[in-house]
Point group: D2
Chain length 345, copies 4
C-alpha cells in the first residue's frame, strides 16, 4: 500500500530481548512507520539503537520522551509491572499504544489501566498476543472455524522453555516478579483457548512443582505448573507451563474436535533438516520463542501500525488481556491453596 | 526352552473379541500350553473354537467346565462384572488364573476376590496389564530407569478409541456396565503411571463431557473424560479417555523428565508406509488396540504360562489391579460430584 | 486350521544368524510343521538346536541328513555358493525345498538348479523373498494395485546396513563371496521393483565407491553401490546399497506414481517411542534386518508350509530369483567396466 | 546497518510470478535500496508496480529504461532466453546486475555474457542461486563442513513441482523454451551438489519419461527426468526433476556421509500444523517454491544490495552458473541419445 502520507512517528520503551526485536522490526521491516526515539536504562542499548537502527533521540525517562517527542504511537516493552502506569501516561498524552503482554501483575492497576484505555476510544490500544498472527495458529483456526474437526471437546497448551534459559530466568526472577509460572508461560495458551473455543473457563485446578529445579523455591518460583480448566460450555483444557525442556522451546497446542484433531507445534523443529546419526533420526529443535515467532511479531506490529493509520481498534481488546491474566492467576491460586478455584471474569 | 514335561492344560471363559484373540494365541502361538476347553454362551463361538482351534470340549457353564475338566490354568475373559466370582471359583478349585482387566466393578466383590487370591499363595494369579509387555513401553521404562531423562515431573496418558467403534460400544454399554470412561479407557494408563513413577495418586480432579456423542447420555456414559492427578511425591498426571478419534486408536503416553521426555505412541502409525497424496503427507493410523498390542497380548500370556510352570508370581499383583480400579473410580466420582476427590488406596 | 493330518517333518541346513531365526520360528511359531533335524558345521549351534529347540537329530553333512531322515521339506540357509548343489540334491531326493536368497552366485550353477527344480513340478520350491510378506510392503502394493497413486513413474530402493555391522561383514567377505554390493544389499529391492511395476529392467548404470570404508578394497568389496535402471515400459529406478549407515538399518522403498507416492521405511523406527533430548526430537532406529522383518520371515515360512500341505507353488518362482540375480550382477558389471550395460533376462 | 549514504537506485525487468516477488521485496523489505523503475510488457503489471509499490517510472523497453534512468543496479527477471543480452547491455551501461537463474539457454550467448561480465570486474554480478541463502541448507552445509557426517558419499536432489502447476507450465512451455526438465527443475540441485561436495560431475546418465503427462510430448517436454552423476572424486549423485507431485512442492536434498546423513525438505510441510483426520495423521504440504523460499529470496537480494554497497563480488560466480547449466544440459543430452555423456566443464 503506497500512500502520500508521511510515516507514523513511533517511540519504544524497553530494549531488552523482546524490545530489541520490536525495535529492529520497526526500523527495518515495518511499513509506514519511523522509529524516532527509544527509552531504556542501559546506555549500551541506547547506543545500539542510535548506531544500528538510526533512532534519532534516546531517553532514560519515559515521561520525558512522551512529553518531548512529536510521536503518534508508543511501544511499551518494559518489565510487566510498569505496563499500567506507562500505558496510562501514554493514553493520557493522546498516543496510540502497543503494550506487550501481560498487561500487568496487579489487578487494581490493570483495572485502572483498562478504564483509562476505554476513556480514549479514538486512540488505538493493542496488546501483544502475537500468536494470533502466526501462520500455523491461523491455519488451525481456519480449519476449526470451517467445522473440519467438528465441535471442540478438549484443548491442551504447553508453554515450556528450554533448560538453557534457566539461568537467565533465575536472575530475572530474583529481581522482578514474573507473575508466576502460569502468567509467565501460559498466558498465550489461555488467550488461544479462549480464541478457539469462544468460551471462558469457570473453574481451575492448578498444581505446581519444583522437581526439576529445586533452587527456584528460594525465589518463590515454580519450575512446572499444570492446570485443568473447565470451560463455560463444557470444553475441558489442560495448561502446562515449564522451564526445563532438554530439547528446546516446546510451544504446543492441541485442539481435539468431535471429528478430528489438530496439533500445532508438536515438535519444535528448528528448520527443514533431518539428521540421521548414531542417536537415530533426529530433528533439531528451536531454542527460543523469538526464533519461533519472529514473523508473528513482525505481522502483529504491522497490523498495529495499519490499525493506527486507518483508525481501527484491533480484534484483541484490553478485556481479553485482563481475562487471560485473571485465568492464569486463578490457576496459580488453586495451586497455592490446594483447592479448586471458581473463576469470575 | 524344551522340557520333557507335558504342556499345561488350559481352559478359557469368554470368546468375544479379546477372548478369541487369547484363544487363538493359546492354540497357535504360546509354548508349553494346550487349550483343551472353552466356555461361552454363543454356540457359534464354541463351534469356532472346536473347528478352528481344535479345542476338545466346550461348555456354556463355567462351573461345569472347572468341575469337569482336568486343567492347570484358566483364562477369564468374560464381561468384567463376572471376573470376581469366576476368579474365586477357580482359585478355590486349585487353578492358576489369568484374569483380564479390570478385576471387577464392585469394590466389595473385588476385595473378596483379593482375599481369596491371597489365601492361595501357591497358585499363580495374573491380571491383564499387557502394556507392561509391549516393546515400546519397556524401552521407555528402561530409558527412565536408567535416569536418561532425569526425575519424572509429569505424565500424560491418552486412551482414545476410534470413532468407528462408537456403535459397538453403544450396543455393549446399553447392556452392560462399562465401569465408566476412566475405568474403560484409562485403567492401563493408570497402571503405567504407577509403574513409571512408583507413586500413587492422592487427589483427582475429573471432568467429563458428551459433546462428541450426546446420545451416550441416554445410557449413562460419557464420550470424553479428563482427569488431573496429584501423585504422592509431587508428580502431576493427566488422563484422557475418549471414544471419538476420527483418525484411529490413540494410545499415547508422555513422560516428562527433568532432563528429557519420552512419548510412546505419539501417532498410531498403522505400518511403515508414508503416503504422499492430495491431502499432504499422510501416515495411516491403527484402528484397534488389538492390532496395536497383539504381540504384547501374546507375550503376557506366555509369561503367565512360564510363571505357572516355574511357580513364580508375576510382578503385577492383584493389589495393583485394585489400586488402578480405585483411581479410575475416583476420577469418575470427581466428575460426578464436581469436586476434588482425595484418593485412599 | 486344524486338520487330523500329522505335521510336516522338516530339516534345516545352516544355523547361522538367519538359519537360527528360521529354526526358532519352525520350532515355536509355525503351525503344521515339526523341525526334526538340523545340519551345521558348528557343534555349538547343533547343541543349541537340540537343547533349545528340541531338534531330535543333528548332522554335519547335509547329504547324510537328506539320505537318513524321513522328512517332507528342507530349509536351505547355508552360504549362498552352496544353494544350487543343496537344492539339486534335495529336489532329486523328492523333498520340498525352501531356499534362502540369493539362489546362488554362479549363473551356470543357478541355471542347472532351475532346470532340476522345473523337472519336479510336484515338489514345492520357494525362495526367500520375504519382503513380499511384510505388512508394510503389502499395504503399499495394495495402494498401488488399487490405482490410488496412478501409474508408476519412478522407484527408489535403499538397502543400507548399519555401520555397526561392518566388522562382521569384513570377516564374512574375507572368507566368502558376498556376490558384490548389489547382490548382497539390493536383491530384495530388485524383486520389489519387478513386483510393483511388472516390468523388467533393460539397461543399468552402476557406480561403486569405498569412500566410507577404504579397507574394503583389500577384499574386493565396495561399501556403496548406486545404480540407475531403465525399465522395459519406461519406469526409472534407482538402487542404493551400502554398509555405512550411522543411524541404523535403512531399508527404504519409494514408489512415485502419477497421482501420489508411497515411501516404505522412510525412517527405520525401532519402536513407537519418541525421545526429546538435548539433540532435539529423536526416533531411535532399528539396527538389523532381523528385527525389521521378523514377522515377514515367520509369515513366509508359514506360507511355504501351507503351500506344501496343499500342493500349491508359490507366487515367486525360481525364475524370479534368477532374474533378480542377473539384474544385480548387471549393475555390478556396469560399475566394473564403467559403461552402460544392457540387460537380457 | 545505518549509513548516511543514499539508498541504491534500482530497476527491475520482468514482473511475472518471480519478478513481482522480487519487486515487492525491493519495495518493502530490502534495506538500502529504492526501486525506482520497472520494465514489463504487460500494462497491468506496470500499473500494479506504480500503485502498490510506488515505482516512479515504468517502461516496456528495457534499453530505454537503462538509457534513461539514473540507477545503480538492475534486476533481470525476464524469460531466460533474454538473460544474456540484457545482462550484456546492463554491464556495458555500467550497472550492477542481479540476474535470475539460469543464465541462459544457448551456450554461445552465455559464454559471451560471461566474457562481458568478467571485463567489468568492478561491477557486481550475482545470479539467483537463492537456496544458498536458505536457513535449512545453510544449517546442513555447516553440519557437513564441521565434519559431523564424515565424508560425502552420495547426494540426491529432488525438484518436483506440484501437479497443480501443470497447466501453467504447459502454457509457458508452449510459448517458450524451458531449457528442458533438468535445466528447469534441477539447476539448483546441481548447484547445491557442487557446493556441498566441492566436486564437479564427470559423467551423466539421464532418463526421461512422460508417463504422468503424455501431452507434454506434443511440446517437446518431459514430465520426469532422472539422472545419475559420477563426480570427480567419487561422490555419486542422483537428480530427479518432475512436474507431477500430487501432494505439493517436493524440493528435497539428501547428503549421505560416511558417518551420518542429512535430508533437507524430506516432507514439504506447509506450517507447524499436524491434522488427525479420517485419512490418518496428515501434514499439509507447500504448493509453491515461492512460499518455500520467500525468506531466501529476500536474503539473497539483501546480500546483493550489500555487496554493491561495499563493492564485494558474491561467492557464486558467473562460472558457477555456466557449469550448472552445462551439467543440466548433459543430463538432458544423455536422455536424448540414450548413452552415457562425459561432462567437460
Amino acid at each position: 500500500m503506497v500512500t502520500t502520507r508521511k510515516p507514523l512517528r513511533a517511540a519504544i520503551i524497553g530494549l531488552g530481548r523482546l524490545g530489541a526485536r520490536h525495535a529492529r522490526h520497526l526500523a527495518n521491516k515495518i511499513q509506514g512507520v519511523k522509529l524516532v526515539a527509544a527509552c531504556a536504562l542501559d546506555s549500551n542499548q541506547l547506543e545500539w539503537a542510535k548506531n544500528e537502527l538510526g533512532v534519532e533521540t534516546t531517553y532514560t525517562n519515559y515521561k520525558d520522551m512522551i512529553d518531548t517527542e512529536n510521536i503518534d504511537a508508543i511501544f511499551i516493552v518494559a518489565p510487566t509491572p510498569f505496563h499500567p502506569e506507562m500505558t496510562i501516561y501514554a493514553m493520557n498524552a493522546g498516543l496510540n499504544v502497543f503494550c506487550e503482554k501481560p498487561l500487568g501483575l496487579d489487578f487494581n492497576e490493570v483495572d485502572e489501566m483498562a478504564k483509562v484505555i476505554k476513556s480514549h476510544p479514538n486512540q488505538i490500544f493493542q496488546s501483544g498476543f502475537m500468536r494470533r498472527y502466526d501462520d500455523s495458529y491461523r491455519y488451525a483456526k481456519k480449519i476449526v472455524d470451517n467445522g473440519d474437526i467438528g465441535k471442540i471437546i478438549y484443548m491442551r497448551g504447553y508453554g515450556i522453555d528450554p533448560i538453557s534459559g534457566m539461568e537467565s530466568f533465575t536472575k530475572f526472577a530474583t529481581e522482578a516478579d514474573s507473575g508466576g509460572i502460569f502468567v509467565d508461560m501460559n498466558i498465550h495458551d489461555i488467550d488461544l483457548i479462549r480464541w478457539f473455543t469462544g468460551q471462558d473457563p469457570v473453574q481451575a485446578y492448578g498444581l505446581t512443582s519444583n522437581i526439576a529445579a529445586p533452587q527456584l523455591a528460594d525465589i518463590g518460583e515454580f519450575e512446572t505448573g499444570v492446570a485443568q480448566l473447565k470451560m463455560s460450555d463444557g470444553v475441558i483444557a489442560t495448561l502446562i507451563g515449564g522451564r526445563h525442556a532438554a530439547h528446546g522451546n516446546q510451544v504446543e497446542l492441541e485442539v481435539m474436535g468431535s471429528n478430528g484433531w489438530v496439533r500445532i507445534g508438536e515438535h519444535p523443529d528448528l528448520n527443514r533438516v533431518t539428521v540421521f546419526n548414531d542417536q537415530g533420526v533426529v530433528r533439531p529443535s528451536l531454542q527460543s520463542f523469538g526464533e519461533r515467532f519472529d514473523t508473528a511479531f513482525t505481522d502483529e506490529v504491522q497490523d498495529f501500525v495499519n490499525n493506527v493509520i486507518v483508525g481501527k481498534q484491533p480484534e484483541v481488546t484490553v478485556d481479553d488481556g485482563i481475562k487471560a491474566l485473571k485465568i492464569a492467576k486463578a490457576c496459580q491460586q488453586s495451586a497455592n491453596i490446594g483447592k479448586l478455584v471458581d473463576i469470575q471474569l
